[in-house]
């Protein structure tokens, strides 16, 4: 028996440039109690399918062709009123961000009761009773008193549970979950995924699980549909599709997913150079950039060490004379990065990873502690003069390639800035030539130099950011989640590029990430942080194979991955 059947669904978005087909000829079906994963990279049409099913396509999109049936109901034939009644009653939705999908001015109780009363003739008291039961069922302890709290009084994971309770409170047959765990840390993510699995098994609810994370799909989905550019590439049982992909695209996609259980020397990425640094035949501009970085610059690797670094942020003002206790972002962190090696720094959000990067770059000043770079003391924040050598030697690649480049400057200007600022190249023409050469080295076309950042994709922007960092001739590179905003195939390319550049120029790298699998691919050593403290540090293989700290073990255990035995021999 099928619960939801989608046949030949085509969704179009008319615009003044003509009609854009977002989804084309997609068919899938979901049975009761089945979790159907929908994977694909950004722009693949995953969310659009979800929105079409629930009837909330963003204006001006419309369903051009195809049949959508929920049980015996034809979803396309419904009147707006009937569709409105059906939404929330028979189909519910879980959104990505629990911060914004709850009304901050209403208590959880009011939101749950409101939803229930909107769909069934139920008294306030009965609705409240049901709400408490529901919250308890999905794992909120002490629900009787917690129910009258406001959303901000719950943690992120708890809030997502409340969102799920909200989706559940009308006993829907089908729930569309759009990236339900993307905003959550691994530990919470694994609990939420377990909850979704349990609801499917015990209540027989069908789930359409939209995600970009292959690990999540592998962990909970029964069946999976792989999308690309609005078309179905492959569909079938999860184990079959992920373990023995039949379609080329699925195979490429699976090759791009970093495995957590072993280190790949390079990702297999189709296309020139596999997304890595351009090979330096002598006639290529890339060769010039490479010569400039190696022959003319310093090549001795430098190490970095932190000794008992503590950072406190002043607490919020309570009254005229009183403040809350300061927030300790880093608590006596000591670590060292060997010259020419890659140190992976992992931890959940709020663990102090980014603060550590800011201390090293001199944006945040520590309350106490010492730093040294290449054996010389490294002054902190305000004590580090504007012209200090470390300002050039330490460069950083940021997480969000959409905000790390000045949108009002063209690429030539962005890249020329470090050359000019550090006095590396006084001649404007030569600055431009070097910038162009660097673009070639990181694998961008020559005409990129006259364009503006918004004309590039996320991966290309990240390459520009890498080129900008390299043009300072750094010796120490901090990468703060450089791939977490990118699609997995783009991530594979950027990781290849970083690997190439690191080994070519003997860079010392601090690689910050919440994604253990990515860190494993790159790092020689790994340091694990939790709420401002260093939990464990050691060689990568040791941390991944024989973790000593419980926290590290939990992180490894809870990270969703595809079981190794699925992979066909």
């Amino acid at each position: 028996m099928t619960l939801l059947s989608v046949e030949d669904l085509t969704v179009r978005f008319p615009s003044r440039f003509g009609e854009l087909t977002a989804v084309e000829g997609v068919s899938l079906s979901i049975g009761p109690g089945e979790i159907h994963g929908l994977v694909g990279e950004s722009g693949a049409g995953k969310s659009t399918i979800g929105a079409a099913v629930i009837g909330l396509l963003p204006h001006p999109g419309y369903v051009a062709e195809g049949r959508l049936r929920l049980g015996e109901t034809d979803l396309r034939a419904l009147s707006p009123r009937a569709a409105h009644r059906l939404r929330g009653d028979r189909i519910s939705m879980i959104f990505q961000d629990p911060q914004t999908s709850l009304d901050p001015l209403m208590t959880v109780e009011e939101q749950l009761i409101e939803t229930m009363q909107a769909h069934s003739d139920i008294s306030r008291r009965a609705a409240r009773e049901r709400a408490v039961d529901l919250l308890e069922e999905i794992g909120i302890r002490d629900a009787e008193s917690r129910i009258s709290s406001y959303p901000h009084q719950f943690s992120g994971g708890m809030r997502q549970r409340v969102v799920i309770a909200l989706a559940l409170c009308t006993d829907p047959e089908l729930i569309i979950a759009d990236e339900p765990t993307t905003a959550l840390d691994v530990a919470v993510q694994s609990q939420v995924l377990a909850l979704i699995r349990r609801l499917a098994d015990e209540r027989g609810i069908g789930f359409l699980l939209i995600t970009h994370d292959i690990g999540v799909i592998a962990q909970v989905a029964d069946r999976v549909t792989v999308l690309r550019g609005g078309k179905v590439m492959e569909s079938g049982a999860t184990r079959q599709v992920l373990g023995q992909p039949a379609h080329d695209y699925t195979r490429d996609l699976m090759d791009s997913v970093p495995p957590i259980d072993r280190r790949l020397e390079r990702f297999r990425v189709p296309g020139e150079g596999g997304g890595g640094a351009r090979h330096a035949q002598d006639d290529r501009p890339a060769a010039q950039a490479r010569r400039w970085l190696t022959a003319e610059g310093e090549t001795e690797p430098v190490g970095l060490s932190l000794d008992e670094v503590t950072v406190r942020f002043a607490g919020a003002r309570r009254g005229l004379w009183t403040r809350e206790a300061p927030f300790v972002a880093l608590d006596g962190v000591s670590l060292s990065v060997r010259p020419g090696s890659v140190l992976g720094l992992v931890g959940e959000s709020g663990s102090g990873k980014s603060t550590l990067a800011k201390v090293i770059t001199g944006l945040v000043s520590p309350a106490s502690g010492q730093m040294s770079l290449g054996g010389e003391a490294l002054p902190a924040a305000k004590a580090r003069p504007r012209g200090h050598a470390a300002r050039r030697l330490i460069q950083m690649i940021f997480q969000d390639p959409f905000s790390s480049l000045n949108a009002r400057h063209d690429v030539g200007r962005i890249l020329g800035e470090p050359l000019w600022l550090y006095g590396l190249e006084p001649d404007a023409k030569r600055r431009r030539a070097l910038s162009a050469a660097m673009l070639d080295l990181v694998g961008l076309p020559a005409d990129a130099i006259d364009k503006y950042p918004h004309q590039f994709s996320g991966g290309q922007r990240q390459r520009i950011a890498i080129a900008r960092a390299l043009l300072a001739r750094p010796r120490f590179l901090i990468c703060d989640e450089p791939t977490s905003a990118l699609d997995v195939s783009i991530q594979a390319q950027v990781l290849n590029l970083l690997k190439d550049l690191q080994s070519l120029f003997g860079l010392t790298v601090l690689f910050i990430s919440h994604d253990l699998a990515v860190v494993r691919q790159l790092a020689d050593e790994v340091a694990v942080m939790q709420s401002g403290k260093l939990v464990e540090a050691g060689p990568t293989d040791q941390i991944f194979e024989r973790p000593r700290a419980d926290y590290t073990r939990d992180l490894l255990r809870l990270t969703p991955v595809m079981p190794a035995e699925w992979r066909a021999a």
Partner: protein, 301 residues
């Protein structure tokens, strides 16, 4: 600065907004007329030899007793209304523009500093702004005019009436710019491109001017248009109250004040013509400001 696609997008939206098109047309006609006043006006209201008392109090041309030479009539001195208005608009626009530009420089500069450095710089600038906001604009203008009257010799004060008036208006408008700039800077400051520039050790003034400023121009441009309208209105108010420009160098506000005297005596056009003109100018500029806001705020599209 706006790249090609943005510009095309803007033009496209423009053609879909008739209000914006009419407003733009009206603004161009008024500003163009004011700029070209010495060449297109029939007489020069500052030059006694170009008009005569005999032509005084003539109604608009289409009314009985009207003279086709004076299309919108004349005032009691025999000055052609159209000429007076064109010359008046010239003064009003000059004062409005200058006041707006001074307010922009002052406000954006202080707002950048306050937003970027925070701490006591922020506290000082914003408290001063709060005090400024508590004073009505007219009071500020009266205050400055009064001080200027007291400090400067009478002859010099008469000569400096336009700069003094401009300064008074600018001082009552800068707070808007400072607040907007500060709020935008505080958002931009935490973006990674600014962090990157700070991390590289760029000078704070460079970070503010080269990196942050171009990225907050959108909202500032909107305020500039809206405040241009406010400045023109404020000048008219002050002149109407007699604190602004004297009757021998009339701005739009002065013309309206003169017209007030004839409101009940039948020569209504002396009041209503310049008033309608002022309203048309201010409404057009405000509509353009709204349009700009929509243009820079993709969420409102």
């Amino acid at each position: 600065m706006l790249d090609y696609i943005r510009r095309r997008e803007g033009l496209w939206l423009f053609t879909r907004s008739p209000a914006a098109m009419i407003a733009a047309l009206a603004t161009v006609v008024i500003v163009g007329g004011a700029l070209l006043a010495p060449w297109i006006a029939a007489s020069n209201p500052y030059d006694l030899s170009t008009f005569s008392l005999i032509d005084g109090l003539k109604p608009p041309a289409w009314l009985p007793g009207g003279d086709p030479e004076f299309l919108l009539g004349t005032d009691d001195q025999g000055r052609d209304m159209i000429s007076s208005i064109l010359y008046g608009a010239r003064l009003s626009l000059l004062i409005g523009l200058m006041a707006m530009l001074i307010a922009t420089l002052l406000g954006v500069g202080l707002g950048l500093l306050a937003g970027y450095f925070g701490g006591w710089v922020d506290a000082v600038v914003m408290r001063v702004a709060d005090v400024q906001l508590a004073l009505p604009a007219i009071l500020t203008a009266l205050l400055i005019d009064g001080i200027a009257r007291g400090v400067l010799p009478t002859a010099l004060h008469q000569e400096l009436r336009v700069p003094v008036l401009t300064l008074a208006i600018a001082l009552s408008l800068w707070v808007n710019f400072a607040r907007t700039a500060r709020a935008s800077v505080m958002v931009e400051k935490n973006k990674e491109y600014v962090q990157a520039a700070m991390m590289q050790g760029q000078h704070p003034l460079r970070v503010m001017g080269v990196h942050i400023l171009p990225n907050i121009l959108g909202p500032l441009l909107v305020i500039m248009t809206v405040d241009l309208a406010s400045a023109i209105l404020l000048e008219a108010t002050l002149s109407f109250l007699g604190i602004g420009l004297p009757a021998d160098s009339p701005s739009l506000g002065t013309l309206i004040r003169i017209g007030m005297g004839f409101l009940l005596s039948g020569e209504w056009w002396i009041l209503w013509v310049p008033t309608a003109f002022l309203v048309a100018l201010v409404v057009s500029i405000n509509i353009l400001g709204d349009f700009l806001r929509d243009l820079f705020n993709p969420r409102l599209r």
